[in-house]
């Protein structure tokens, strides 16, 4: 019969004599390690630095032509739609998903807003609400398929992209509603295309020009940043993207979080559809074909991890602006537009490489 001790075992007596301090590692950190630590804590810092550097470089090369309130706010106007769709994409990517149907939802919603007004004579504000509801409903279907049926988000939204786009062409009969008709009969559809100027000269030229769409982008991004950081729902979005099983066991209603994320994504895309009518003036079923790829580009360059749970929506805004700065800056320099795509491709790969490098800070 082996001897057995009940209660603390003999070797544990040594614990009484040990100092209370646990192992402390006062390793000196190199500047590189410290930088990595900082970037790990504030993931939107990388795209912000890249944005500031690229604005400075183009400003130095092009001078007043680029570095003016007018040009800089023009960039903001140009990225408004991609930025709003990117905000929707950010929410989905934070849950370790992806939404390929964002562009299609945006177009279909704008077509519904237009056709409901002009085909059925429904008052324009009501049509806008119908468009927004349609976007949210498609998002809800996406979310339900992902959360309840456990289908991969990539496949669900790939299918939904085709379904929604085909519906869009079938329903609209490929017919564009002209800008003159809209501004005559239903100007509210073009609401987000309205502009106001700050600091223009006497003739009304120059100065900072803001469309309501650009203002919406800023407000929306700030609102989502607040919700993600300061509310329980926002923390749950990160927890679900990080480790869904752990989140579920810890008491997060993961399925509910996923359904609300996709529904919200659909709603924001519909909002982008409304902004798009303002930008184009007309309602066109063939517009916004690349919004899904462009929004994913903004998200990735903005430092949001495609594996979920890391990044911030502010980073996405910086990512969208970086793309805008490159596009307009290179255009003003008169280069072939292919150089823009080439550089953005490099940026995407670099952004993911930086993300991997930052992750090592945690290990």
């Amino acid at each position: 019969m082996a001897t057995e001790t009940r209660g603390p075992q003999g070797f544990e007596a040594a614990l009484a004599r040990n100092p209370e301090a646990v192992a402390e590692f006062t390793q000196r950190k190199s500047p590189v390690q410290r930088a990595r630590q900082l970037l790990h804590q504030t993931p939107s810092l990388v795209p912000l630095i890249v944005l500031v550097v690229s604005i400075s470089v183009f400003g130095a090369l092009l001078g007043q032509k680029f570095f003016s309130a007018f040009t800089l706010t023009l960039i903001l106007q140009q990225v408004a739609i991609v930025g709003i769709v990117g905000a929707a994409q950010s929410l989905v990517v934070l849950t370790a998903g992806i939404d390929l149907s964002v562009g299609a939802i945006m177009v279909l919603s704008s077509v519904i807003m237009g056709q409901f007004t002009f085909r059925y004579g429904i008052p324009a504000p009501l049509s806008v609400l119908c468009g927004l509801a349609a976007g949210a409903a498609i998002g809800f279907v996406n979310g339900t398929l992902v959360a309840r049926m456990k289908l991969p988000p990539f496949i669900v939204t790939l299918g939904m992209w085709q379904i929604v786009l085909a519906t869009n062409f079938l329903y609209s009969a490929n017919e564009t509603i002209r800008a003159q008709d809209i501004s005559a009969k239903a100007p509210i559809l073009q609401f987000f295309g309205n502009t106001f100027r700050i600091g223009a000269d006497e003739a009304g030229r120059g100065g900072a020009v803001f469309t309501y769409g650009a203002v919406l982008l800023i407000v929306l991004v700030l609102l989502i940043a607040y919700v993600l950081r300061q509310t329980a729902w926002g923390r749950h979005v990160y927890a679900v993207g990080d480790d869904p099983d752990a989140a579920e066991l810890a008491g997060v209603q993961t399925r509910k979080v996923l359904v609300t994320v996709y529904t919200l994504s659909g709603l924001i895309c519909a909002l982008a559809g409304w902004v798009m009518i303002g930008r184009l003036g007309s309602v066109s079923p063939t517009a916004g074909q690349f919004a899904n790829i462009e929004s994913i580009t903004a998200v990735v360059i903005g430092g949001i991890s495609l594996f979920g749970g890391r990044g911030s929506v502010l980073g996405m805004l910086f990512g969208a602006l970086i793309v805008g700065v490159f596009s307009l800056g290179l255009k003003l320099m008169g280069t072939d537009p292919q150089w823009t795509y080439l550089l953005i491709g490099v940026l995407i790969i670099a952004a993911v490489a930086v993300d991997q490098w930052i992750r090592k800070a945690a290990a």
């Binding site: 070797f11 614990l15 607040y226 919700v227 329980a232 729902w233 989140a247 066991l249 008491g251 749970g309």
Partner: protein, 258 residues
């Protein structure tokens, strides 16, 4: 005395595998019940059934005499059963305070909390710090640091503190000392006894026989998906317990406390 947590005839099948085969379970108020068993005996399935993480195919679970039907861990938590899972169920990128309050966040008082749903970070951090200090785990410098920056033992401490802080009826601990060093294990064992002194019953799942025999009042031996017997740690040796759970020895009585 009536059991506070009672299960009868639990059955759980995964395809062709029967993880729980007509299993019974009793936990009495104020006791520490250890659940031991070989790998694959169905301990984890039993624990998951009691904590709401899996839904059983057959059988009943009663808490305080009231029949329960848990469909999610949230149900069990609302009923007052807290669980420390073996994989800890922590979100690496979130802070210690965020993790401790995951799913039951505190909102700010007044308009900010009610209309803007703002979290009361200061209050959550204060309470998290208080709990961790109670457990002697405040070697962690910064309560706002991400859980992924903690060592394995510290993570375990956060998970145990979370359960101890919120459990109101039953605390279930699945292998709470498995990842810990000698000193941290000792802390967790003291904590278990501390929780017991406060009147909360504990279910302890462990492979560590010295730990089991040190703190348990009764030992539930699990074998082949069901309760083989319940033994008194004061009347048996650790080798007896190992013999019973591996099938090398047949139990004399099914329940030594009956």
């Amino acid at each position: 005395m009536e059991p506070i947590l009672k299960a009868r005839g639990l059955v759980k099948r995964y395809g062709k595998v029967t993880a729980l085969n007509n299993c019974d379970f009793d936990l009495y108020p104020g006791e520490i019940l250890a659940v031991i068993g070989d790998n694959g005996a169905g301990k984890s399935s039993l624990i998951k059934a009691l904590s709401g993480a899996v839904k059983v195919d057959e059988g009943t679970i009663e808490l305080d005499g009231r029949p329960m039907s848990f469909v999610s861990p949230l149900d069990a938590r609302e009923a007052g059963i807290e669980t420390v899972y073996q994989n800890l169920a922590l979100s690496p990128a979130l802070s210690i305070a965020d993790n401790m309050f995951l799913g039951r966040e505190i909102r700010k008082p007044g308009i900010m909390g009610k209309w803007f749903r703002a979290l009361d970070r200061a209050e959550m951090e204060r309470r998290a710090r208080e709990k961790l200090t109670e457990l002697g785990l405040m070697t962690i410098q910064n309560i706002g640091q991400a859980v992924e920056t903690l060592s394995g033992g510290q993570r375990q401490g956060v998970a145990v503190a979370r359960a101890a802080a919120f459990g109101s009826k039953v605390v279930i601990m699945d292998e709470p000392t498995a990842a810990l060093g000698v000193k941290e294990s000792r802390r967790v064992l003291e904590l278990i006894l501390d929780v017991k002194r406060r009147g909360l019953p504990i279910v302890l799942i462990s492979h560590n026989m010295p730990h089991v025999f040190e703190v348990a009042d009764r030992i539930h031996v699990h074998r082949l998906g069901r309760r083989l017997c319940v033994i008194d740690p004061r009347r048996h040796s650790m080798s007896d317990a190992v013999a019973l759970m591996t099938g090398a020895m047949a139990p004399e009585k099914l329940n030594e406390f009956a």
